[in-house]
Subunit: 224 residues, 2 copies
DNA sequence: GTCTATAGTCGGATAGAC
DNA sequence: GTCTATCCGACTATAGAC
């Protein structure tokens, strides 16, 4: 830390380049199929440096997920905390509070849909989806670093609107709402084929977000 | 075909064993990470036979998806055709028809949820999910052999209940409904962690199916 | 810190015996 | 049809020069 270009500046640049490259290659090919050579090429560095900086392929993989969590927190951490404190202060008995919770939840859902459908987050989704299917140590990093809080915030908001539901019932409803948000990502090939969408334009993403917001309103108004 | 144990009986048994083994190993490890040796071991046969019967690893992979489609059609093909003809005969103007369509759709959704959450279909889901993320030639086999018809039937039923929606709007609603059905499979690790479910018992699967049916009723009753 | 070179492993495909 | 044996390519990890 003696100068802008300190002793470890180059090393940090190498680490960052490797992580960015690893996100792309791990997401595209999966952990096993991704080769350290392909990652090093993508990062324009040397294959041996993966061993030096991350102790091996597995270490780089975990570093990718730690990077992901910190990136996500940087993007929506503030908003997330605001939602959590808001949810805690709302009184389920008040109709006003229920309206506020619904609007907040819809805003949150829209933000997620638009983020998920942005092309540059495709790699993140793939990495997370793979971990959901076959959780490794990386899933713990994800869940305790990020998903935990998001799901908790959504559950809290939902319970303001639906105080009639038991906690487990509310959580199942959260799962179905999150399922709608993720559907276009997760079943992308099938969904775009059904919809006859060759690409997902911003307009189409907005239409999906609107559809989901209408669904949320219907689900949080109902009596069951 | 001269006798019960005809000339090719053993060959067929080998082919079948390899396909069953391949379903397990491809689902667990993905195409690239799955080794032909692991598949042959699982099938208790010889690695060289994959080349003989299927021309190679890729050929076996495609054979797996053809097998999957025929299995699915055997399981729900009849029901599917009944739904298609029913949907075609219903009059959107009649309240009775709308009630019938809703009930049929709910029955269909329940069957899907229960099927998806049965442990033995885990491998199928994994294979399909991988193809959704990175479609290969196998995805065409799946879509034109099966998904096409399922999505079409669901869309038809839905339009009976919601004649107010444009076709594309209706299809987006189909995507969000299918998303709910798949959520527990697709985001299994996150969902079971939120719900604090270490295993998905039949009771829990039924609870999810009930939740989804209530959601469908709410979504098909609404005005938007 | 970065690079080259290589050791050691494992994979898919296939030739040829039975 | 099935099996053994093997070729050849690709991979991770690491030793050692700079």
């Amino acid at each position: 830390m003696t100068a802008p270009t300190g002793p470890s500046a180059r090393a940090d640049a190498t680490r960052d380049a490797l992580i960015e490259a690893a996100i792309i290659v791990f997401a595209r090919d999966g952990f096993q199929a991704a080769s350290t050579r392909a990652i090093a090429d993508e990062a324009s560095t040397n294959q041996a440096l993966i061993g030096y900086h991350f102790k091996g392929k597995q270490g780089l993989y975990l570093a990718v997920f730690e990077h992901l969590v910190s990136q996500m927190r940087a993007r929506i951490g503030e908003r997330l905390e605001a939602v959590v404190t808001l949810a805690g202060s709302l009184d389920p008995a008040s109709p006003d509070a229920r309206a506020t919770a619904l609007t907040t939840l819809q805003g949150f859902a829209s933000a997620m849909v638009m983020t998920l459908l942005r092309p540059e987050t495709s790699a993140w989704s793939q990495l997370i989806l793979r971990e959901q299917q076959a959780p490794s140590a990386a899933f713990d990093i994800l869940y305790s670093g990020f998903m935990d809080e998001v799901l908790g915030a959504v559950t809290q908001l939902l319970r303001v609107c639906r105080p009639d539901l038991e906690l487990e019932e509310a959580r199942m409803l959260v799962v179905t709402i999150m399922g709608q948000i993720m559907a276009l990502r997760v079943a992308r090939a099938g969904a775009t084929r059904l919809l006859d969408w060759s690409t997902i334009t911003p307009e189409r993403a907005a239409a999906m977000a609107a559809r989901i917001n209408a669904n949320i309103a219907a689900l949080l108004a109902g009596k069951d």
